[in-house]
Structures are given as structure tokens and as C-alpha cells.
């Protein structure tokens, strides 16, 4: 990858936090989870991101608490290292180099100093065979330690982290793969295998999916593909094992977890219901339904008070004692696909894209945090595979962010396409969008593009559809003042029954261009007159956009046959064209720049150019593998002042794009990174207090106040003690009541302690006055600054250090002397 010195491609947000099971710390204050190449630490009470543990160079594949020290955590990664961290201060303590990519990690209290890792079989590095190995972690003082002593425990295990579990007091480990359960006893150094038939009855899928062992008894719970949970007992011999079956899930059981006391078993699956089985009465169960998305992992805090579930929509839910959802940590939802383009909400400047099924997510790019989900479909989501669900396929904001238009569709096999066009008005009161109009079946076929007119006078929406028409929708004015206006179709246009594929408004909203296969038609939205047609065969038009600002006379079109054309609308002729396989054209709303993503031989290139200039401003080859389908320019809060030609295009806005693997990337410059680094240092938070946004705000404010106070009280250092900190009060509060002296005595002491503070405050005021006078003088006689400065310095010293020795009266006298003395002295000097 070619990386320019100034412009760097940065992974911004959206790392997967549901990849592995999260860990709750012993004191239940923090939650740790693997997120891409780092481990994120969140506060469990406020769901706020605290910090991250950075150091791994590849995907982190597992996080476990160190059983011998509960303030430390082990993490393993595909880069072949196990790292030991102090998670409260985010310090890397040790790195153990294993040498193989690691897929999961298990530890047990019984086996101190040993970690169990799942690594690929040594002989078949590329194949899908994995083994469970025990690694003795060497004690040594070095930061980096090589730990190459691997001893195989089990061969042929699943790389899925839920597929192995330590049993009671670490005596055995149970692992499942396919149709086999294998239990390895450490004492006997012997393993037993139990296998199920592939299908005992019709429709039964017996394959194991996950395993969990009871912490106090010899019992193994296994989850299966058909939704059954089997409880295995008496498995310490080959023959006479027994199992009982629990069945509630209708889909596969994704994860199983025993509570630390072993009284309850938790299970979850695609139904997104947390099922809570009572261990002793197995037919009794509690449910926590509608958690939002399929449950992928369940973790329980060591004291059993908190549960947390990871969900397939990149979310971690923290649940208090199985009844109440107390916090939700939500990352960028990566659904099945992004059908809506990336959009920037003009109001909140948040990135808007498909989120949970049937929702739009508003994602803050600055805080890497989801702001909220807007329910578009407003239907109960049925968590079941193979159902045709409504999906939000298009979304658009108008220029001011007052209106949001969404299109949802549901295609059923062999049935009519169901399309709904919904228009949402922004409600200032609730600060969210409220449904205004629903148009069922706005078109007879798929909607290919939808845009609002950018002109400020009219709110007009244009949709183009494969049924050969484009429609303009207008907010119908209702004569009644109290009734809200609704949207209605204003115009239906078409061109020789060709199918329109894309449309674009000019920057001022005076022109609308619609691409009908090979022909680009230009319309006037005011009169709905067809102004002109432009055509540059061969190849259907894939994307259209107008130039902005000084380049607004240009219209750009990308066609399927590797052609990028630029028409001049004043002359209605082709200005230039170039052979390029442009997959996406994106205009910067704040400048003339246009970004074009081209796909070439399996990877994407980026060109940033102005339509009026022949040379691109910036180009980068081989941006990423695969086609870039979605990109957006996000306006910056404050303009960068970079003068370098290569980075100038990033001054006003930032370009974000989604790769095929749904990673959100952006470009950043060096100056910007420096600034970010500085600001992150500023926001370091004292973690003795729960981290909330309020606390951050308050902390910042308090910090400023403290600084101010320090500046004020600097000359008199002895006064920094606050009344709360005074020894008298501390004594009063911390001595047990029965040894305290009588209340009257204490009262006097207490009042005195308060009095000190008030007198010192007065002192301070006087002091300030004195200083002000002094400053005035300074202004008066600037010319004679030199001798006076020296003098004031000599006077200042005794005040700072000798102040306690002087009485107040003396001090005042001294100050008087100081203020009076100089004038005549300096005048003398002048003479």
C-alpha cells in the first residue's frame, strides 16, 4: 500500500466489539472487550468508553482476567502473542510471544502460570485444524518473553471460543466439535469422547455449538444446532454417562453460561431472548425478551450480579441480576449490508446509515459512538432465519435537516414488491424525527435514487424508479393552520419508457438531471420542462453529479462502460471525458472537489479533482481491496489551515468511506493527528469517579477553575487548604462518636475552622486590590520598568515565603510602604 507522508488512511470507528466474549472485572466496574486490534475498557455503570489497551498488531481474539491477580488481564491475538495488562491504568506489563496465531484463550485458577490456547495444528498451518495447547508462561523480568513450550492437550478442537470450557475447579476441560464432546481430565491425563448421531430423528440437528461446565458440580451443559441444551452428568467414565435435554430455543443455541454459584444457566440464540434456566428445577425458566439482535456471547461478572450479552448488531448489553437492562454499549452496527448510502445528517453532523434491521443509525463520527437508532419500519422484528423482512433501502435528508425521507422495501419470492416511502419531520421538542407521511407503493418497481432539492424555498423530493418514471413529491400546503401538511406527488416524468437509474440536483436546485440508461435528461423543476438531453454512448449512466460553486456549470456522469464524462451545461456539449471505471462519484458540499472511486483489478483507487482542472488534486492507487460502494464528505467543525497542495482538499471536509468488509475508513493529515493527540491528553479522566459525559464536562470546568485558583493563590501558598480539608473537621468526622469530646467544645472548634477561611478570603481580596494598584502603576511608568521590576521581585520573595511569620498588620504596612515608596524613588532615579 502506498502511503503518503502527509495523508494517512485511518481506521475510524466501527470496530467489532461483539467479536469475543466480554469480561467484567472483579469489582464490576469495568467491562473489557476485544475491539479490532485493541481491547476496549468501558465503565459498566455509565456505558462510557474509558480507554483502550493498545499494542496488538492483529485482531484480538480473546480476553481473560488473570486468575492470580484480578487487576490484570490476559489478551491473545492473531499476531501470535499473549499480553498481560494492567487494565486500570492501561499499562502493558508483559508480552509472551507464542509464534502461532491464537484463536482463543482459557485460564483456570488451578493451573497458575499456565494458559490454554487454541492454535492451528503445527503441521497444517493453513488448514482448518486446531489444537488446544497449554503454555507455561515463564517468569522473567523482561518485557517481552518468548514462550515456545507448547504441550498439546487436545487435538482437533473448534476455534470457536465457546467450544471449550473448564470444569469444576479446573479438574477437567470439555471441548466440543461437530458431533463430539471430549472431556480431558488433568489428573488422570485421560480424555473421554462422547458422540451423538448426526440425526436421531428427522429434522434434528445434533451438532454441538457451545459448551459450559458447572462451577461446583460435575455437569456439562452443551448447546446444539436445533436449539436443544443437553446436561451431561456422570461422564467420568466412558459408558455410563447420562444426559437430560432442555428445549426452548427454536434456532441454534449460540452461547451458554453458568452463573458463578452454579444456580442458574443462561443461554441465548438468534431469538434475542436471554433464557435463564434454574439449575435444580430445570423446567422452570425466566426470559428477558427483545434484546434487539441475536445473542452471540454471554458473560457473568465474578460476583454474579451483572450479566452481559453481546449481540450480532455489535452491541453489548449489561443486565442487572437478570431483570433489568442497565446499560447498552453500542458500536457502529454492521448489518447485512448498507443499502442507503452514507449520509451526513445536516443537524447533528452524524453519519447515517442502515443499522439494525429496519432502523437507521445515527453515528457520531467525532465520538465514535452511536447517537440513536431511528425505527423506520416500526414493526415487530421477528428473529428467525429465512424470513423476508422490510429493509430500509434509501434515505435522504433535505438541506436543513428538517425532513428525512426513507424508502423501505420487502421483496417476497413470487409475490409483489412492497415499497413504502416515508417522510419524517424533525420535531424540535423531542429532538428527533416524527413520521409525517407514509406513501404505500410510491412506484411500481424498485426505487433507484432519491434526493431532496437543495433549494431553500421549496422542499421537493425526487424519486426515480425502475418502472420508468421519476416522481417529484411536494409538501402540500394545507389550508387549515392547525393541520400539518403532508406530502403528495406533484409530477410524474419519464423519457421514452427508459429506466432511470440515477438523478442529481444542481447546487441551487434550479436543475434536475436524471440519467435514463444512456441518456442524461436535464429538467427544470420549476416548470417541469425538459430542457436538454445529453448522451454519450455506449454505456448506461451509473452516477451523476453537478459541480459546485465555481464549477456549477459542469455536470459529471459515470457510465458503466468505463467512461467518466463532464458536460458543460452552458454550451450543452461534452467538455472532457476520460476512460475510468468509476464506481462512485461524491461531491464535497463545501468546495468544488469531487471524489471518484475507481475499481481496477480487484482494488479501488481514489481520485480527487476539480471539474475545471485537468490535473487531479490527489490520487491514491490501491486504496483497499474490493470496490468502494459508499463514501461521504463530512464537513469539519473547524477548518484546517493546511497550505500544502496535496492536503488542501481535506481542509473543509473529511472523506469517509466504507470498504467491502464494512470498515469505516477516512483520511487524516499530520497536523490533524497532532491536534487530536493533544486534545486526548487534555481529557484524561480521574477514574476514581464514574465516567459520564456530565463528569467530563464538569471535570473540564473544574480543571479550569483549579488553574484559575492556583494562579490567584500562588503568592500565598499557605492558603490553599480548604475548610473541608482542615484537620479539625477531619477529626470531627472520622473519630468514633463515643470518644469525641462534648458537643459545645466541638462546636467552637468547628466554627473557628470556618472563620479562618473567611478571614483568609478577605485577605485575598485585599491582596488583589493591592496587586491591581501595582499593575496600574506599572502601566503608568513603563519606561522605568527595569529598576522597579527588580525591586518588586525582591519584595515579592519575603511575601511568598516569609508571610506566615508576619502578622496581618505588619503585612499591610509593608504593602503600603511598597506602593508608596517607588514613585518618588523612581522619580529620583529619573533625575
Amino acid at each position: 500500500m502506498v502511503v503518503h507522508a502527509e495523508i494517512r488512511m485511518v481506521h475510524r470507528g466501527g470496530s467489532k466489539i461483539n467479536f469475543r466474549e466480554p469480561v467484567i472485572t472483579h469489582d464490576s466496574r469495568f467491562l473489557l472487550c476485544a475491539a479490532g486490534e485493541s481491547v476496549n475498557v468501558y465503565s459498566t455503570s455509565t456505558e462510557e468508553y474509558v480507554h483502550d489497551l493498545q499494542g496488538h498488531t492483529d485482531l484480538v481474539t480473546g480476553v481473560v482476567l488473570n486468575p492470580s491477580n484480578h487487576l490484570q488481564v490476559y489478551s491473545c491475538s492473531a499476531d501470535g502473542t499473549v499480553r498481560l495488562w494492567d487494565f486500570t491504568d492501561a499499562i502493558l506489563i508483559k508480552t509472551f510471544i507464542i509464534g502461532y496465531p491464537i484463536y482463543s484463550i482459557y485460564v483456570s485458577e488451578k493451573h497458575g502460570g499456565v494458559v490454554f490456547l487454541v492454535v492451528p495444528m503445527a503441521n497444517y498451518k493453513s488448514s482448518e485444524l486446531f489444537q488446544l495447547v497449554a503454555v507455561h508462561l515463564p517468569h522473567s523480568g523482561d518485557q517481552e518473553v518468548e514462550a515456545r513450550e507448547l504441550s498439546a492437550v487436545l487435538c482437533d478442537v473448534s476455534h470457536h471460543p465457546g467450544a471449550a470450557s473448564f470444569g469444576r475447579e479446573g479438574e477437567y476441560i470439555a471441548a466440543v466439535k461437530g458431533l463430539q464432546l471430549e472431556v480431558f481430565f488433568f489428573k488422570k491425563q485421560k480424555s473421554y469422547r462422547f458422540s451423538l448421531k448426526s440425526g436421531m430423528k428427522k429434522g434434528a440437528k445434533n451438532a454441538f455449538t457451545c459448551v459450559s461446565c458447572h462451577p461446583k458440580e460435575d455437569c456439562i451443559a452443551t448447546g446444539h444446532e436445533d436449539g436443544k441444551i443437553r446436561m451431561w452428568r456422570n461422564f467420568n467414565q466412558k459408558k455410563e454417562y447420562t444426559y437430560s435435554t432442555l428445549h426452548w430455543h427454536h434456532g441454534a443455541v449460540n452461547t451458554l453460561c453458568f452463573t458463578p454459584e452454579g444456580t442458574n444457566l443462561l443461554s441465548g440464540g438468534i431469538e434475542s431472548v436471554l433464557v435463564h434456566w434454574h439449575y435444580t428445577q430445570e423446567n422452570q425458566k425466566d426470559f428477558l425478551p427483545r434484546l434487539g439482535a441475536a445473542i452471540t456471547h454471554i458473560a457473568v461478572s465474578p460476583d454474579g450480579s451483572l450479566f452481559c450479552t453481546s449481540h450480532s448488531d455489535n452491541k453489548i448489553t449489561i443486565i442487572q441480576s437478570c431483570v433489568k437492562v442497565s446499560a447498552v454499549i453500542q458500536g457502529l452496527v454492521k448489518g447485512d449490508g448498507v443499502w442507503t448510502n452514507l449520509i451526513i445528517d445536516p443537524r447533528s453532523k452524524a453519519l447515517v446509515l442502515n443499522g439494525k434491521p429496519g432502523h437507521l443509525q445515527f453515528y457520531s463520527l467525532h465520538h465514535d459512538k452511536q447517537l440513536y437508532n431511528l425505527d423506520i419500519v416500526q414493526q415487530e422484528y421477528i428473529h428467525e432465519e429465512g424470513l423476508d423482512q422490510f429493509e430500509v433501502v434509501k434515505a435522504a435528508f433535505d438541506a436543513r435537516g428538517d425532513w428525512l425521507a426513507t424508502v423501505e422495501e420487502r421483496r417476497k419470492k413470487g409475490a409483489e414488491l412492497e415499497i413504502n416511502l416515508k417522510l419524517w419531520a424533525y420535531d424540535e421538542l423531542t429532538q428527533s424525527f416524527v413520521l409525517n407521511t407514509t406513501v404505500t407503493a410510491p412506484h411500481e418497481d424498485r426505487i433507484t435514487a432519491m434526493f431532496f432539492s437543495p433549494s431553500p424555498e421549496t422542499t421537493m423530493l425526487v424519486t426515480t424508479s425502475l418502472d420508468g418514471h421519476f416522481k417529484a413529491w411536494l409538501l402540500a400546503d394545507h389550508s387549515d393552520a392547525n393541520a400539518e401538511g403532508f406530502w403528495a406527488c406533484d409530477f410524474v416524468g419519464g423519457y421514452h419508457l427508459l429506466k432511470p437509474g440515477c438523478c442529481s440536483f444542481s447546487a441551487d436546485g434550479s436543475l434536475l438531471s436524471v440519467g435514463f440508461q444512456e441518456v442524461v435528461t436535464v429538467w427544470s423543476p420549476a416548470s417541469w420542462e425538459l430542457l436538454t438531453t445529453l448522451s454519450q454512448p455506449p454505456g448506461a449512466i451509473r452516477d451523476l453529479c453537478f459541480g459546485r460553486l465555481s464549477c456549477s456549470k459542469y455536470l459529471l456522469g459515470a457510465s458503466t462502460k468505463n467512461q467518466l464524462c463532464c458536460w458543460n451545461l452552458l454550451t450543452c456539449s461534452l467538455e472532457w471525458s476520460t476512460p475510468m471505471d468509476v464506481s462512485l462519484l461524491q461531491t464535497d458540499p463545501l468546495s468544488e472537489n469531487i471524489a471518484a472511486f475507481c475499481s481496477q483489478s480487484g482494488s479501488s483507487d481514489l481520485f480527487v479533482f476539480k471539474p475545471s482542472e485537468p490535473r487531479p488534486l490527489y490520487s491514491q492507487k490501491a486504496l483497499c481491496t474490493g470496490k468502494v460502494q459508499h463514501a461521504v464528505f463530512a464537513p469539519r467543525d473547524q477548518m484546517l489551515e493546511s497550505c500544502e497542495e496535496r492536503t488542501q482538499w481535506l481542509n473543509r471536509s473529511q472523506l469517509y468511506f466504507l470498504t467491502q468488509h464494512m470498515d469505516l475508513l477516512t483520511f487524516s493529515t499530520k497536523t490533524e493527528e497532532d491536534r487530536l493527540l493533544a486534545s486526548s491528553k487534555q481529557l484524561m479522566v480521574d477514574d476514581s469517579v464514574a465516567v459520564t459525559p456530565f463528569y467530563l464536562l464538569l471535570g473540564k470546568h473544574r480543571g479550569q477553575q483549579l488553574e484559575k485558583q492556583e494562579a490567584l493563590t500562588n503568592p500565598m501558598a499557605e492558603r490553599t487548604q480548604l475548610p473541608q480539608g482542615s484537620i479539625a473537621i477531619k477529626e470531627l468526622l472520622h473519630t468514633p462518636a463515643h470518644v469525641l469530646p462534648s458537643a459545645s467544645f466541638l462546636c467552637a472548634m468547628f466554627v473557628r475552622s470556618l472563620l479562618i477561611s473567611s478571614s483568609s478570603a478577605r485577605e485575598e481580596k485585599e491582596h488583589e486590590e493591592g496587586e491591581m494598584e501595582r499593575e496600574k502603576e506599572e502601566e503608568d511608568s513603563e519606561g522605568e520598568a527595569d529598576p522597579r521590576l527588580g525591586e518588586s521581585a525582591t519584595w515579592g520573595h519575603p511575601e511568598e515565603f516569609g508571610a506566615p511569620a508576619l502578622t496581618k498588620a505588619q503585612e499591610r504596612e509593608l504593602r503600603k510602604v511598597r506602593t508608596f515608596d517607588h514613585s518618588w524613588l523612581s522619580s529620583l532615579l529619573d533625575c
Partner: protein, 509 residues
Amino acid sequence: MASFKSTKIPIYPKLGEKVTPDTLYWKNYKAPVQIKEFGAVTSIDFSSLAPHNYAVTASTRIHIYGPFSTEPVKTFTRFKDTAYSGKFRSDGQLLVAGCEDSVVRLFDVSGKVALRVFKGHTKGVHVTDFTSDCYHILTGSDDYTCRLWDIPNSTELTSYKEHTDYIRCGTTSKLNRDIFITGSYDHTLRVFDARVEKSVMTMDHSQPVESVLLYPSEGLLVSAGGRYVKVWDLLKGGQPLVSLKNHHKTVTCLSLSSNGQRLLSASLDRHVKIYNTTNYKVVHNFDYAASILSLALAPDDESIVVGMTNGVLSIKHRKSPEEKREMVGKQRMQPVYRIFVKGRNYVPKKDDFLVSKPVKSHLAKYDKQLKKFNISKALDTALESWRRNRKPEITVAVMKELDRRGTLKNALAGRDEQNLSQLLNFLIGNVVDPRFTPVLVTATEMILDIYQAVVGQSSVVDRQLVRLQELVEREVDYQQDLLEVLGMLDTLFATSLPRKEVPCPGSSR
């Protein structure tokens, strides 16, 4: 943890009239009181005096009714022929009336015998009115003349013979004692000034004029004749302002609502139309049983009195606001509501600590069953007879929801004869409704698939299936016809439009 999202019941636009403040105002009348008169009611006039009695001229009599009486308070019968145009003087003391026998009679409202008799016309007098100074009377007659009479001396003051046909309407100015306006069957309206010997203004209505009306400001004049109602600007020398053609038979009478904001016109087509006087759009419409000859509104629109050709006098009284309030009060008295609002309007005091209770959302029965995945039960609930008949959209919405969940087939299956015939009944009733067709067609197909095997076992179901088949066939034919018509219209539109680059004409639905 999100809550269960209830099934979305689509709201279909209500057909019919839109509710405007005008419709609410004009609908706020009680059911009409009907009084049978001896002949066609030709004129109604309200007294401006407090109880607002009104004089009804019908046949050879004039009845005076009290505001709420159904029996006449007083009757004047001393007419030898059909009486016309019984009018109160502005002080409510005197009443003047014309007669077919060309004699004009003046009555004291409390008396019985005519106080004065004005003789001089040679034919029937259809128009009488008092001038604004109360001392003169204007009359218009079928002998083409209109005259002014002095009341104290009962002498004729002036006579104008400018019209060339019957004079059938006229009015005096309320601001100027000398000015009056007459309308005639010679299609003209003439403005006379008693101080001048000739008419001062002439307007051509181009239809026989049946009624004239002056605005309270007297700047505008409204005339009715033929199917037209025309408004003239007198201050601009009689310039026509608007011509309204909302009736389909002759307009016979005009009236203004008390605040002058609405104009009412009554016609032989049995309608009373109400216009907004700012934009002259019809804002409301009353229907009556017979052709209307006369119309009057009580001050403050307290009642609308309409006289018809069949001699029926219809009186509509306004609903008093007290009655309305009483009804509302009654509702509030219901204990259920009182308990419902108990504590809801409590305003917390300043230092109160607010403990909010989780709001329990109410779910409909079918939603509760859907929440528990009881799909067959949910469909049964949705098919309950009142819901099926009154709110078919709910039934259809539940079916759609089941279809979305992929369980509609399961829910439809396993029904006995009674259940199945219920279901088929619902389909027969609603499958051709364009709002429901997309959902119900899938449901129908599924039912046919499921119950294929049992066809022929029950005569009830078989009969319904045959009906359903006929219905669908008829609908298909109907749609085909409609498409043909659409095609014809398209060709017509295409030929009528000029050959120009026109984007896709007539393609909008």
C-alpha cells in the same frame, strides 16, 4: 429491551366532505320544524324587534310566528287574493303587504284591520318595502311601475315607469331614504333616487331578476335571476363583480348571514347554498324537500326559515351552546372517566420528589396473542364478527402481519366448517376492495391450496367458493373494461396535445 411493537393498522383516507369550520357552524342546527301553510310560501321577513317574530306570506294570508312557536302568533287574512311580500317596518310596528288584486295594505302589527290602503297599481303588487325614514312605502307591480307612497296621507308620491316587464323584486337603502333598487323580468336592475325623476343606474342581469339584496355597507348589490347570482359594485357605477352559477335551476331568494360574511341563495333546485363573501366559494349546502321560494335568517343566525312551493315552512333552530355543554358535562360525570383521570392532573409541588412509574402500554387482544406467537388465536380474534364488519382494515392488517412472519398458512389451516365459511365470507366481502386486494389475494390462494382436499364435503363452503369464483371473474372483466377506457382516454389526450417534446403525458395515475 425494547417493547413489543404493535401491529400497524394503516389509516385510509376518509372519503366524502372535508370538515371545515363552516360545515361545523352550519351543521350546528337542530332538526327542522315543519309547518304546513295553505299555499306556496312566497315571502318571509323577520322583525328587527327583540323577540324577532317573522311574517310568513303564503296564499291569501300572512302569519306571524314567534321565534319558537309552531302556531302563528297573529294572522292577517284581509286579502282578497294572493298576498305578497309581507314586510315589517324597521321599528317592527307596521307591516306592509302587496296583493294580487293590486291593492297595498298597511297593518299595525297588533291590529287586525288594514290601517291604510294604497290603491293605484293596475296589476298585482309583488314588491313592497319601507324606506329607511319609515314614512314612505316602495311598491313594485306587474304593471311595470314602481311607486313611492306617503304613509300618513296614503298618497302616491312618485311613479317610475322605466321597466318593461314585471317588477318582482326590490329593496330600499337602509342608509339613504331616497334610494331604492328594483329588479324586473326585463333582465334589468334599476337604481332610483326619489329626488330625481329617472333611474340613476341600470344594470343588465341578462336573466329575469328574482331577487335583489344590498350589502349592509350598500357598496355591493347582489341579484339573483335564472341560474345566476351576480354581484355588482355600486360604487364603481354598477360594474359586475362576480357571477356565480352554482344552482341548476332558477335562484329565487337571497339572504346574508348576520355578520355579513356569508351569502345564502335559495333556488328551485331545492338547495340553499352558502357562499363565502370574500372569495365567493360555496362553503356549505342545505338540501330541502321541495323547490324553495323564500328564505330568511334570524338575527345572529339563530334560525333559518325556508318556505317552499308545496306550502311547507321549514324552521331550523341553532343548537344552543348550553345544551352542548350539558352533554359534555354528562360525559364527565361518568365514574369510569373520573377514575381514569384521578391524580392525572395533580401538579407536583416545588420540593416534591417525583417517582415515575413505568407506563404500561396497552396492547390490543390480537397483539397480545401475536406477542405470544399464538397465530391462530390472533387470526380468530381479528376475525371476530364486529371487527370483521366494522373494521376490516384491522383484520387485513393482522393477516398481513402473519404473512410477514411467514405463518399465515399455519394460521389459516385447521379450521372447521363454520370457521372456514366465516373466513370465506370475509374474503367475498373484501377481496375486491382495492385497499385490501394485495393481502387478501395471497390469503385466498393459501386457503384454496389448504382446503383443496375438502372441496365437495360441505355444501355451505362449496356455495361460497362458487360465489368467490364469480366475484373474481366479474372483477377481472371490470378491470379489463377500465383498462380499455384508460387506453381510449390516453389516445384522446395524445391527439389533443400539440406535437411537442412533452414528457410522458397521461402516465400518472
